[in-house]
Assembly symmetry: D2
Homo-oligomer: 385 residues x 4
């Protein structure tokens, strides 16, 4: 259950509040040890069943740059990146996520990560030489939500290719933007992530206070990761950013030309949540990849938290286009630190798909009775807080 | 039945041929009188049930320019137009199309239109002062397919607003691009339109030679009108062009902001047919409006005619996104010259929706067995003809 | 001298008239033989001094597609083209234009071309097997203005690569748009081109009726060729079209990445004339190439002719950015049918550069005394004609 | 003089280093008091001579949103902003900058600001009710470089209009991006800003170590402010961000339509420094406004610092287009805390314009002897550091 008070409606259909209006009835205890100072989501290690097929998808189709590769793994980065990689494809028996990896501010933050997760009773492994090429001293944990998280500071620098327009493709990917995780109890996950230093920027709730998803950030974008309610722990998607919307359309056009349009799962479209333009693809193992552009700055500590009504049909697609069921239902397994898939626990709270689609669900485009559309010029709002 | 010979496959999944591979078993006789020399589709007269609501949609939302208006009608044009209007909204009891209007090259072409349709036994009405404001001497006919067609040359010139960027909106509509008509027997309609001087640019067929739709042009774009197989005569849509793809996305974004996203019926997306980027909207009466950009030049007399397999899942959306059933099923009535709705005749040929979706239909993304994707550099094709 | 009457001012700063307000005091006689029916500008044959360097520029940098090549020539086309080529690069001793080539509607139009130019006393050569690969029966002439013009109908068809997004680059060139010729006496050239069936769409004049440049079309865009006043006969530029403005910016970005930014001569910018977005490059021999997008439909016979004041500082760049002197002064030689450069004759009319820049020239951004800016909503213009 | 060691060349023509390679021979002493924790540049207070004319420029032309206004001031914000304003236009006798205002993380940071500047001997004024509407407790100082800086945390929240696409214009401004200051001694200014907690992201130097400009950030973009070498203290420009490049082009197009193209001073173009797409305008008082989009993430503490050679002709415009002299020479006065213009001190170090243009300057597009262009695929760079 969450606190429903103190929300201010806006002319865009959602509400804003000062603090994330989310409360967990079953919280993970807050450690006394301070959290590490996380800079940003940095890379994902993805286990793939056919390395050549995955390399073809991420390099030949999506245009990620190969920093290094060997028989078992390919290390990829976006055009703007100066750290060694944003994605590791590793050959393995079960397609899954081996690590959600975050960069921390200082080498000493690794000590903090060890202490923080050790106090929580989590399994913690530290490797001074890193778990992947190009990355030094690293800490991996199985976090209280069941996800394999990694923290590192030390990395080999590589060339930022932003100015290398001779290498760029029409669908150029310029940044790793965020991860998205599936977890059964969103308020519990949010509370834990807040303890880890994350801040909520947006969420989806219903009038009873059920939380369906929440977006959380360290860097000042809408998110470094999101918690999506569902059977978990699973990985919903990894998202890369382009500069402009036409870059995303170009990826669709290219997939059509390659007769791979069935890799497009959802979109392109405009998100309500985040205001970003988006596209969802599925890689050869079914891992979901989002292409994303143009959310907004969230770096002020009092950045207004946006709460969307789960029944607002524009929350997930601002144009009201339907969300395909696979997008709600399917996700990738995650691995424990031994490389075994984590068991998936069913969500017991209401399902977003169930409450919005079909016989028992409903969605609206406009609140009823229809509010008059706010006319141009009437956007002055005074003090919301 | 159509001629299936002499098609050349391409690396894009469709075939090309030199002549439209369409034959009618039930042709309308070719008149001995020459056809009028049609320049282009020029405007549509649309009967609407609530003139204020329709004006709000076309002017306040879509940004068409009001050339003139009175209590019963609004005369609208696109930014680039120099003739009086591209769309007339007229208040009336039954939402329907009163005229598909084409501009002809000379005043004398009106005499030709009269002779051509008179020979066909059609009802023909000529008004030296025109049927709408801003248009002079005009001929209206009930054509052999049941559609109300108009031809005119004389029109009042108005200012082309292409340079008036101070008036432009993010979703600026720059041209009327085409009409789209629903008719039961596509080969019969195509044969008649060829007699009227149109040339086929693309069509959709199956291996048995059933024709599901055909695109035909006078001006050198993919079409001035298309014939879509279905119960008819009905009007499927009217299409306006933007300069760029982001203009179309901006219309979607604006509809979301106005909480009118339910006006978006299909798209945005990339067409297979025409290669254009598209969006379909429904106006307050349900009349369908397409926003369209970037098809290709077709003005050479030997422009290759493209034939798409009806089972190619990328033919209507290059990205393989599904076509909603309403898009196949729903269309606007058309009026006879007395203003009464024309009776709708059912299509007896196979339905495109039925053969592609559901238990009895099928579509493919790639031909099976999968053809190897053509690698970059192997696009040299030699002599196709 | 030109007729200055019957022009209607517009709210955009230029005037419109119904007939091109251009008159020649020294006209080339109109042949009694009918002109060939020209479809469009089709290709240019360009002599280059270093074939490898030119190939690198047009293929590796600009992304034109190689249809065929041999030791002496490279045959290139744009993504949308279905005829054999839009540009032939031929190794030769003197960088120059060997042919401005136009496609005609029928094979019989070649007979018309022979008769038309023979009556004018021009040198005419016909080759049933064509002058270049992929092109059949062709006529080449030295026209009365001194330019090597070619006409052909027969051509080998090749694949239109519009749907081959896997091959497209960020700066994809989709069409040959137009040529631009330098000639001393613009009214004389315009009158001749009108006899050849061209129609003026825009021109630049001063109050005394001196004509500085004129744009003329067969296909319904702003031009298939333009006549620019200056020492001639010379070739000012060849222009290729992109779909969107960002494609043009991408070419600039790529040239920067390749440290070839000195190939950018002028732009990018928005033209006043044509309303198109543009960029001018210089190839390894100094041949000028324009990249161009988004002019407007001109196919109606009464399309308003636009006349710009030579002193309007937004005529050549709508943003008022200066035109570099090299753009006015430099141009490529053209060859006679023996391959020898045509002598260049000096312009005696006023120079556009001289009357607009420097001590003796002037330009204005706004007419003085400043006209009030036309407010939004006041764009209704009534009957201009 | 600066440290020239430890730079790594890149394939893009600039070098990178780990620490800003800038050293001051005449440093401002580092205070013992800790610096306030600055979040970002937040707003500028601009004194204008004609409030109506300035309002027309920023609201009617550029589309900034009016949060509040009265007879003496207009409070404006960008579409994405949730604090009260990003720009205050205040009527006054001398066009100048009254404040460069930064938001700090907590109210307590104002105490830190007071202590920090007081220790430096600066004039410091604190107003619990703020200096402008919508802003609470604020500190203004005359900083050691002569600039009027403001710090605040408390502000009235207003609605973020990112989702209000019905209000957006083709040239929509979405964020305040940065300031740019003119100061005679850049190394001295950089050292002071580093003490204030800023970090250098890029700079321009020559081989002798003269520093011509430096870019510095708090939020993780290329800059919150830059120090441009020249006579100062003066304000070079204030910059607003758009989402895409076409938005910037739309502003140019609109200025053309309004016959205000003479407000365009430089651009549009692509910066070398920052990799952003840009445009410079001059407001009715000559205050310079940049429109800017698409730089890169700089938030990691070891973000590589980029050093450009002052003679690299692509450093300020990646396309090599010339920088107009006014852009180097002209800038706005700044006011002291009594509202009097600060005296301007001449730069004694070499002038960027002088060393790059004209008889005594030089610039190159490519280093000589020409380095081979790095071919596609050769972008693997290994460990730069």
């Amino acid at each position: 259950m969450t606190r429903l008070d103190a929300r201010t409606p806006t002319s865009s259909g959602f509400s804003v509040s000062q603090e994330a209006p989310i409360h967990s009835d079953d919280p993970i205890p807050t450690p006394t040890a301070p959290a590490p100072d996380i800079l940003r989501c940095a890379y994902m290690e993805l286990v793939v069943s056919d390395l050549a097929a995955s390399r073809a998808f991420y390099v030949d189709v999506l245009g990620l740059y190969v920093t290094e590769e060997d028989a078992d793994a390919v290390y990829l980065r976006t055009a703007e990146e100066f750290i060694h990689h944003n994605l590791v494809l590793r050959r393995g028996p079960v397609p899954a996520v081996a690590a959600f990896s975050y960069r921390v501010r200082t080498p000493e933050d690794l000590d903090r990560a060890v202490a923080f997760y050790t106090e929580l009773g989590c399994r913690v492994v530290r490797r001074p030489d890193g778990f992947t090429r190009g990355i030094g001293d690293s800490v991996r944990v199985e976090d209280p939500l069941g996800f394999p998280y990694e923290f590192f500071h030390d990395t080999r620098h590589v060339e930022r290719l932003s100015w290398r327009y001779d290498l760029h493709t029409p669908g150029e990917l310029v940044r790793l933007d965020h991860f998205n995780q599936v977890t059964p109890d969103v308020p519990r996950a949010v509370k834990f992530m807040q303890d880890l230093g994350f801040r909520v920027t947006e969420d989806i709730q219903d009038d009873e206070g059920t939380v369906y998803a929440a977006w959380m950030r360290r860097k000042p974008t809408v998110h470094d990761t999101a918690m999506t309610g569902g059977d978990g722990p699973r990985m919903h998607h990894i998202a890369f950013a382009t500069h402009e919307k036409h870059n995303i359309l170009a990826i669709c056009d290219k997939l059509g030309a390659l007769r791979m349009s069935d890799r497009i799962e959802r979109g392109p479209g405009r998100h309500g949540v985040s205001n970003a333009f988006y596209l969802y693809l599925r890689d050869p193992d079914g891992h979901r990849v989002e292409i994303y552009t143009q959310d907004y700055y969230t770096g002020d500590p009092d950045n207004p938290v946006i709460t969307w009504d789960v029944h607002d049909n524009q929350r997930r697609d601002w144009w009201g286009n339907p969300v395909v069921p696979s997008w709600y239902a399917e996700a990738s397994l995650v691995l424990d630190l031994d490389g075994n898939p984590k068991p998936v626990v069913a969500r017991t709270d209401a399902s977003e798909m169930a409450v919005t689609i079909g016989a028992d669900g409903f969605s609206y485009t406009r609140p009823e009775p229809a509010e008059p559309v706010v006319a141009q010029g009437e956007y002055k709002l005074g003090n919301q807080l």
